[in-house]
């Protein structure tokens, strides 16, 4: 498999064996040697050789090609979560770079295979993507590029409205409570009378029967739809929006793709950190030759460079893994360690437990970025990596460092990573005001939605739902309802619905 030169194939075999010796566990990995243009193309397609036709891939491609041709950046590694894993090597890279990339790729492959959050992804995605492409092409043949593309655009505009936890939990509507359904449980209030013989006339049985029926109907109407807020808005649309069969098919495919890519957004820091950890372990302990050291170091330094104003997931990830390994090797964790307040003792704390390696393998199995940061980012770590929180200072009109307290850093990081950095949005009502309108709620967590984009997005939602659509959110500290009714988009003040 693959098209490696004998020398690269030899390097690959060696690195694969070393990686396996270290305990990495991966699917078979196929390396393809490609030139920069092909690499840009495949990268634009998200790593897959075949995708459905869409201008967005062309846009990605232009960005990648430009940055490459102006020497701003190049793609070093590209690997896709599939069984077997596929990874790409750029033909023009030097041998040391190729080795580094291979070692890095084996790190990713191990992560894909073993991290819990990837466990529900389709490992035959390569084939599935190709199938999606074929199907969408056939729709294009039947309905025309414009029509299909317009619908794909609308789907993509909504494709962050998924429930990243859905693959793990079976969310089902609770069974309807018996009172709702059982007529004998319905009580109709009667007009009081102290003359029982008059009751038949004051409260005629036919009236009571009719009233009972009315109450039953009202309850049924009140029964919520959906019974519980649904975070998987795409699924809700699939089930209830009046879509043409081909539209439904496209939406279902794009939803699948969104779910496939979601774990990569959820584990960016860990995944990259893990891969860097292993490439550096493999390269520096086993593979590098003397004359390659400088190039290797130069390259790795570039990957791990820190930039003020943003965090480098490679750097944070690998440092955190190393920190965990060190702490578990020395026993720098647990009650005794945390409650110790003797500075000198703390500085030299070492119980020689040697649990580090085992621990990081466990971490790579069950954590995602949010829990990874939450659990393992310590005060010392934040200080060592010079992490800070920045914010906008209206007085100076610029971004400034606000705080270096690790708790604040952690809080801010976690907020950014939660729901892979996307707003938390649910469908709460598919029959709003009893008029079949769609009502979404944005769970407020301190950050506003981009208003103009939100209104545009509502139009795409309307495109699917074909009845007025609304989203409840907060703007400028007040509850707002953004709506689109098919002709006009607008906002109005509301009081936020109960959580």
């Amino acid at each position: 498999m693959g098209n490696l030169t004998p020398r690269l194939a030899e390097a690959r075999d060696r690195i694969r064996d070393i990686a396996a010796e270290f305990g990495l566990d991966f699917y078979e990995t196929v390396f393809e040697l490609v030139d920069y243009d092909e690499l840009n193309m495949v990268a634009a397609y998200g790593g897959f050789p075949t995708r459905y036709p869409h201008w967005r891939f062309g846009m990605e491609y232009e960005e990648l090609s430009k940055s490459y041709s102006y020497g701003l950046s190049k793609i070093y590694e590209l690997v896709i979560n599939n069984d077997p894993c596929y990874a790409y090597l750029m033909r023009s890279n030097s041998l040391v770079d190729q080795k580094l990339v291979m070692a890095h790729v084996y790190g990713h492959c191990d992560f894909f295979k073993n991290n819990l959050w990837f466990s529900k992804t389709d490992r035959k995605m390569m084939d599935r993507m190709a199938n999606h492409a074929t199907r969408i092409r056939s729709f294009i043949d039947r309905f025309g590029l414009e029509r299909v593309e317009e619908f794909v655009d609308a789907c993509l505009s909504l494709d962050n409205l998924i429930d990243i936890h859905a693959p793990f939990i079976k969310r089902e509507a609770p069974p309807p409570s018996p009172e709702d359904r059982d007529p004998s449980r319905v009580t109709v209030s009667k007009i009081k009378t102290d003359r029982p013989y008059m009751d038949r006339y004051i409260n005629p049985p036919e009236y009571l029967e009719a009233e009972k029926k009315r109450i039953m109907e009202e309850r049924a109407r009140e029964r919520r739809f959906p019974p519980e807020p649904r975070k998987d808005v795409l699924k809700f649309l699939l089930e209830y929006a009046p879509l043409e069969p081909w539209e439904q098919d496209i939406l279902a495919m794009l939803r699948e793709e969104a779910y496939y890519f979601a774990p990569q957004g959820q584990t960016k820091i860990m995944n990259e950190g893990w891969a860097v950890y292993w490439h550096s372990k493999i390269m520096t302990s086993k593979v590098l030759t003397d004359e390659e050291v400088v190039d290797y170091a130069d390259h790795t330094a570039g990957t791990l460079a820190m930039m003020p104003g943003r965090i480098n997931p490679y750097k944070i990830g690998v440092e955190l893994f190393r920190d965990i390994e060190d702490r578990w090797n020395k026993g720098r964790f647990g009650k005794e360690y945390e409650e110790c307040d003797d500075a000198e003792k703390l500085a030299n704390w070492d119980l020689h437990l040697g649990l580090g390696r085992e621990k990081i393998f466990e971490v790579r199995r069950i954590y995602n970025d949010v829990s990874f940061i939450d659990e393992f980012l310590t005060a010392e770590f934040a200080e060592r990596l010079k992490l800070f929180v920045y914010g906008f200072n209206p007085q100076t009109g610029r971004m400034e460092i606000v705080d270096r307290d690790y708790r604040k850093v952690k809080e801010q990081l976690i907020r950014q990573l939660t729901n892979f950095g996307q707003p938390w949005i649910t469908v709460t009502d598919g029959n709003y005001e009893n008029r079949g309108e769609l009502y979404l709620v944005h769970r407020w967590d301190g950050v506003e939605l981009q208003l103009d984009e939100a209104l545009e997005t509502l139009k795409n939602l309307y495109r699917m739902w074909k009845r007025p659509v609304h989203i409840e959110t907060m703007l400028g500290g007040k509850g707002k309802l953004l709506s689109y009714d098919g002709s006009e988009a607008g906002t109005r003040d509301i009081t936020l619905s109960e959580k």
Binding site: Y45, K315, Y390, Q416, Q450
Partner: protein, 365 residues
């Protein structure tokens, strides 16, 4: 191999240019071309189409960064550089490029439409193609079908052809070869006539603006026309033809009589550049102060009667200066509200050069 991505890429470029899917055009964010740091730095525009989504606004406020600094130290988040009011999603990569290379990038990045040449003048340019047939030639160029035909004709003529057993054996004389034929191709030519006001109010900075702008215009037109002639005219109350160096460096004091330049330009065109053979681009730069409104009327007259009918585009760029009133552009716009061939543009400062170039050349005239 035609790459699969090419289709997607073409489609994307068309969206960016507003050719297809106009509904997406509003999501396009544009970058810019000329960098602000030093004279070699440039930012490469990267137009992006951002589909709308429910996403967090730019008032995100806080973030996590890494590096040195006290509390209160400024942080370069990469977004801070853009002033408020910029479009979201603007994506500028800054990079150092030599001016030479810049020239190549210009056309594509500015998305200038290709110019539709007006007149065609036959020049010496010749194009060759394998369209001819010859009796001698290298074996690699042998034309099998023609050779076969010749052999068939000959055999029939000689009575050697047997329909029952149609074997055709070409002789050496039957062989035909593809041959190279030269074809003179018409080549469009263009002349650019730069006119600049060098009166007292045009300072060094104003001339610099003109120089930069003229450089880009040259670059573009040279790209479009193989055969480009450039003429320079400077004027205060009188107009003179000058060479390039003088054009940029001459400084004269005194008043301004724009009509003098327009008259000279007209004479020049009539004498040397017949419009049926030449694509003519007069560019006039001034700070917008004319000597008198009578003279402005005279300018309008020359434009209407003589210049506009023969030129591809007459471009007037008004450089802002501390002394100039900027009246001339208003007068022109008023006199020719619907004239396609007259393009006027305001150049407030260096930043404005780009927009102005686009004004001038964006119409593809």
């Amino acid at each position: 191999m035609v790459k699969r991505i090419e289709k997607d890429h073409t489609r994307f470029r068309q969206i960016v240019r507003g050719i297809i899917k106009k509904n997406l055009k509003k999501y396009v964010s544009q970058g810019e071309l000329i960098g602000r740091k030093g004279k070699h730095a440039v930012s490469i525009p990267l137009p992006q189409v951002r589909l709308p989504r429910f996403r967090f606004g730019d008032n995100k406020g806080n973030g996590v960064g890494q590096g040195e600094g006290e509390e209160g130290s400024p942080v370069d988040t990469g977004e801070g550089r853009q002033k408020a009011g910029d479009q979201p999603g603007q994506h500028i990569l800054e990079v150092d490029v030599e001016l030479e290379e810049l020239a190549k990038i210009l056309g594509e990045e500015l998305e200038l439409p290709n110019i539709q040449p007006k007149g065609a003048r036959l020049t010496a340019a010749e194009k060759g193609a394998y369209t001819g047939i010859a009796k001698a030639g290298p074996e690699t160029l042998r034309h099998f079908k023609r050779t076969f035909k010749e052999a068939l004709k000959r055999q029939i003529a000689m009575g050697l052809y047997d329909p029952e057993r149609p074997v055709i054996i070409p002789y050496k004389e039957d062989r035909r070869y593809r041959s190279w034929k030269r074809k003179p191709t018409p080549q469009a030519s263009a002349v650019v006539i730069y006119m600049m006001d060098v009166s007292g109010s045009m300072g060094k900075e104003q001339k610099e603006l003109v120089r930069i702008e003229a450089f880009w215009i040259d670059t573009w037109l040279r790209h479009q026309y193989r055969n480009l002639e450039v003429r320079y005219i400077v004027h205060d109350v009188e107009a003179h033809m000058v060479d390039e160096d003088t054009f940029y460096h001459l400084r004269e004091a005194g008043g301004t009589k724009i009509s003098s330049a327009y008259e000279l330009c007209d004479r020049l065109i009539k004498a040397q550049f017949p419009p049926e053979e030449w694509n003519i681009y007069p560019f006039h730069f001034s700070d917008g102060d004319n000597w008198s409104s009578r003279d402005t009327e005279r300018c309008v007259e020359i434009l209407k009667e003589d210049l506009l009918p023969v030129v591809n585009a007459f471009c007037y760029g008004q450089v802002r200066s501390a002394y100039g009133s900027g009246q001339f552009k208003k007068d022109l716009d008023k006199a020719f509200p619907d004239e396609d061939a007259l393009i006027t543009s305001d150049i407030p400062d260096r930043e404005g050069i780009l927009a102005s170039i686009k004004d001038f050349l964006g119409k593809g005239r």
